[in-house]
Amino acid sequence: MIRVVIAAVLFCLSTSVLALSVGDTAPNFKLKNLATGKMESLKKYRGKVVYLDFWASWCGPCRQSLPLLNELRTELKRKGFEVIAVNLDEDTDDAKTFLEQFPVVYPVLLDPKGNVPQKYELPGMPTSFLIDKRGRIQKIHVGFKPKDMKGIRKEVISFLRKK
């Protein structure tokens, strides 16, 4: 009987996963690129400073973050910066409509089933991870306000300077 209880308790504990923290290697994933239709992995961007942004069309702050991230990416792309946006809309058409309104030049990957946010244990929407050239998570931003952009830009530049 005790074994049954222990098994039950272990089962309950198994549903909770430890969240990622700064210094961890960003878990790799492979998702379809909205523009090209090809599968892309995070590993492909190793050697660049990556701003991994999880967003959805129904998320209010994303209306502000996408255009601002697009500006930053355009400014710093030559220095080795890339924004990777993972869209979490269940219906991809919602993402397309949103991007017609707020077009971006950086890769938008699609995860309608929400497998990657599960891996990254997102605490809120939007959440973004600043990943250094070695593929380690250096900053985690939850939520977004336009005034956050100044700090993000500074962080990106400081990690672009590091090896």
Binding site: V4, V9, C12, T15, A56, W58, G60, P117
Partner: protein, 72 residues
């Protein structure tokens, strides 16, 4: 005998707890729709909350800001 029953009950309830899950932040698409809000006018709702909390002499405990999204 009674003890065995109790342990069995605890085990059963613990197993059922595994079925409880919270809605994850990225699963709130439907909750974020305008027609899922408690009040159709966000500004009026904010004002009502303000009055309610000042009358109650307490703050917090209401729904999450912006309805279901939990963005800010």
């Amino acid at each position: 005998m009674l003890n065995t029953h109790k342990i069995f009950l605890i085990a059963l309830v613990s197993l059922l707890l595994g079925a409880c899950s919270t809605v994850k932040p990225w699963e709130r698409a439907h909750l974020a729709k305008p027609n899922m809000q408690g009040s159709p006018i966000a500004q009026k709702a904010a004002l009502d909350r303000h009055i309610y909390f000042s009358k109650e002499g307490a703050s917090g405990g209401g729904e999450a800001a912006g309805g279901g999204c939990g963005c800010n």
